[in-house]
Symmetry: C2
Subunit: 483 residues, 2 copies
């Protein structure tokens, strides 16, 4: 049984909670969205001339009390359903990069919907990922069909739960419509809503965003699986201390949670954060910094205080290629947050501070996902695993390789990686001297050496095409230069 | 204040301890070394016909009670002294690789004493490392002067505490002699013994090694700073379960600790482990596996039970070059063990399962060391860092970049890395599009563009040279092709 690490003591974390309540009560939150103002006003909370609303502690406590302690990601195929926290760690791709490294040329370019088809198919094959959050934008997506143009190729190529960040309430409505068409009916979709909506409801510091607040209200009213992420950036939109950024981000989460529970008490949500500190040498956005992992640890501790599932955008990197930096930045923050109790990890596939998807990076991050899952499996304590009989039978200076236990557990004890190379150097050279990215891209080329048939029933496809004839094909085609 | 993560509950860890006592009492340890047999016999413990000795729990408890709770690495310059656990995390290079990647050609070759001079100088400049454990062997070292031929260039180029694995008691004697010559007298050296001896006293399973037991006895008798590491390899020399390997390795530590305390009650030591699971696809040695980090977490928990400083060979890698695998294998196990309470990390500079040193890898691992130290610094809880006044002054939708706090903490809040690139892609391309290894090797080339003068006083050098005229120069010379 895993006991979590804590960077803050119980009394320190209680003080952070009180500080956040203090912020909400005395500084307040800006609410520009008229419908949100109305919801607050119905509880007697009126905006001042700056559109700021002050939230008393009792109102916040009331809201927190109705937030459920679990959150389920549904999939079209129930075997891929994942529920937080019991299925922790749940691993998800990071998402919405405008660019990618072309899998054939290696050069950066804009991402298109046919790229999403391949990315979805790759994620379907990688056991390290539980949820596919649509990894890139799509340059060919028309504005009025932006989100479903991204969603459709994902749906056709991945059976795992899908997650999508939309940009307006109308977007969310279209996504819902596409989901219903895929499921066969609105009712069937509502029983197993396999698309989770995501948004960033707060512009730090402490201001509800206009459009995403619309999304939030719509998703709560319709009871669609959805949650928001807080993204304070220390030195820019929050204090330049980890503790201050944690306290402000927590106030933002509490304001967000309060609004959701006012609309629909009992609405499932997630304590999700992407907190960073700005690198003030040039003001660079630095999600690859270790401070991101530490803030993730603090957030997980607060989420546990509130008994709400926790999530982090973790293990992000500022590296431009999938190199050592990409590896250690991806690995370290994730392990830190895992051991601090984080449940859901938005972590796979992106380089360059969330700007650029890379197929090889998705493969190595998938292995990191498996490593996180292996840590969570732990020591598997049992008298049998203590192996006292095997040790006694073997005796001092004996050998274990020929013992029945060794043979029986050959495929179970260890995580057996596909990318991480364990050959000695001479064999590694004979096999082509591939580095991790080389191994990963080899797997990608093998996967896309052929076309893949759709993972969506023909009838569902026909329904969707009839309603949205302009959607792109969404097929996963072979890469032209793949060998 | 950091609360440690635990993969095993208190009662589970107590059961592991009992299991280890059970192993020592009922299976015993093999003791081939005659002097060690004598030491045990003086306490009434007699070897059977297989030279196995059974250790009753009371004897082990007695020994444990006298192990100090601290361990100090002395340096020639006291500002580099490090004491476990209060200076945790203490970061040390990994050591004794036979080969290196040539810093000019990039090709693997044998390491020589002049390589050690450069490696020592590099480690002296890397703030991530606290202790220099001599990273490679030296092909030019004659057998009868093997260890001091490695030590001398380290001494001439690094002021940090040195650590060396010797191969016999005679080796340890020569090292001691060299230390005394450097310090000016045996007495001066004994006051500040800046070389820590290291050995692997046990051949798993459960057998005291012949030569290293001599070293152990000599180092205890002479009261030289020294400690041993346990290296069970699951599936080969220990059970193929993490728990069984933990229990057996713990029994080995207890046997080792017992022998040291019988020789010198109160002798400082470290609970140090390099536990692995064999990859049974080909029987490959897999120190890069995540199970290594998990075993390190378990070991740290046991060390805490015994109130003994803990150490792990962690963040090792099976990668052959400093790639993404090298990065995430180095990062993940280290963070896991740090958060589980490990104090000392043998982690820097080696590729290919400890076979090969790489200069670039040492630089990136130094940054990982700094990241571990940043995590350990934590949130720096204070009312001031909560920044409630700054948040109130800034208000909803405000800006923090122009606040005095932000300016005051500009260089303190974040770890500012030298290798990890945080530029956006276009600037990164303009600056040469270097990956992490490229950045690291650039730093190495800059450092070795010139000769470096010795960090050893001329008088000390003259004393050493008079006693050991055949030692190589040990100077840190410029790399010929460095620009």
């Amino acid at each position: 049984m895993l006991m979590f690490a804590q960077l803050l003591s119980e009394s320190e974390i209680a003080r952070v909670h009180d500080a956040s309540l203090d912020i909400l009560e005395n500084v307040g939150v800006r609410v520009r969205n008229a419908r949100a103002q109305e919801i607050f006003r119905a509880r007697g909370l009126v905006a001042d001339e700056s559109e700021n609303i002050k939230l008393p502690p009792a109102i916040v406590a009331d809201a927190l009390a109705s937030v459920p302690s679990t959150f389920t990601f549904f999939a079209r195929d129930p075997k891929y359903d994942r529920t937080l926290p019991q299925d922790r760690p749940v691993i998800m791709t990071a998402s919405s990069a405008p660019n990618l490294l072309d899998p054939v040329t290696g050069r950066e370019r804009r991402a298109y919907s046919d790229d999403i088809a391949r990315i979805a198919r790759l994620v379907q094959t990688l056991d390290g990922f539980d949820v596919f959050s649509v990894a890139t934008l799509a340059e060919d997506a028309p504005l009025e069909r932006f989100s479903i143009t991204r969603l459709y190729p994902a749906l056709k190529n991945c059976l795992k739960p899908l997650r999508l960040s939309a940009s307006s309430a109308d977007d969310v409505r279209q996504i819902f419509q596409l989901g219903a068409l895929a499921a066969g009916s609105e009712q069937a979709y509502r029983e197993r809503p396999f698309i989770t909506h995501h948004y960033c409801p707060i512009v730090s510091p402490l201001a509800f965003d206009l459009d995403s607040t619309e999304e939030l209200i719509f998703a709560c009213e319709e009871n669609l699986p959805s949650y928001g992420t807080m993204v304070p950036n220390g030195g820019m939109s929050s204090p330049y201390t980890l503790l201050g950024t944690l306290a402000q981000g927590n106030a933002e989460f509490l304001a967000y949670a309060t609004l959701t529970q006012m609309i629909r008490p009992g609405k499932e949500l997630i304590y999700s954060t992407l907190p960073t500190m700005a690198d003030l040498r040039r003001g660079n956005y630095a999600p690859g910094s270790i401070e991101n992992g530490m803030l993730g640890m603090g957030a997980a501790q607060l989420a546990r205080l509130y008994n709400v599932p926790s999530a982090g955008y973790l293990g992000l990197t500022n590296a431009k290629v999938n190199d050592a930096q990409s590896g250690y930045e991806a690995g370290m923050s994730n392990v830190a947050a895992l051991l601090a109790g984080c449940d859901l990890f938005s972590m796979g596939g992106l380089l360059d501070a969330l700007m650029c998807f890379d197929f090889g990076k998705a493969v190595t991050d998938g292995e990191i996902g498996l490593m996180l899952k292996r840590i969570a499996r732990g020591f598997e304590f049992s008298e049998e695993n203590l192996s006292l009989d095997v040790i006694a039978e073997t005796g001092p200076a004996g050998m274990f390789i020929d013992k029945p236990q060794t043979y029986a557990l050959m495929k179970e004890t260890m995580l057996i990686p596909e990318v991480a190379d364990r050959d000695p150097r001479n064999r590694w050279e004979k096999m082509g001297a591939l580095d991790a990215q080389g191994h990963a891209l080899k797997r990608v080329r093998e996967l896309f050496a052929r076309d893949h048939s759709a993972l969506l029933e023909a009838e569902a496809e026909a329904r969707i095409r009839a309603a949205f004839p302009e959607l792109p094909a969404g097929e996963c085609r072979a890469l032209k230069d793949a060998s």
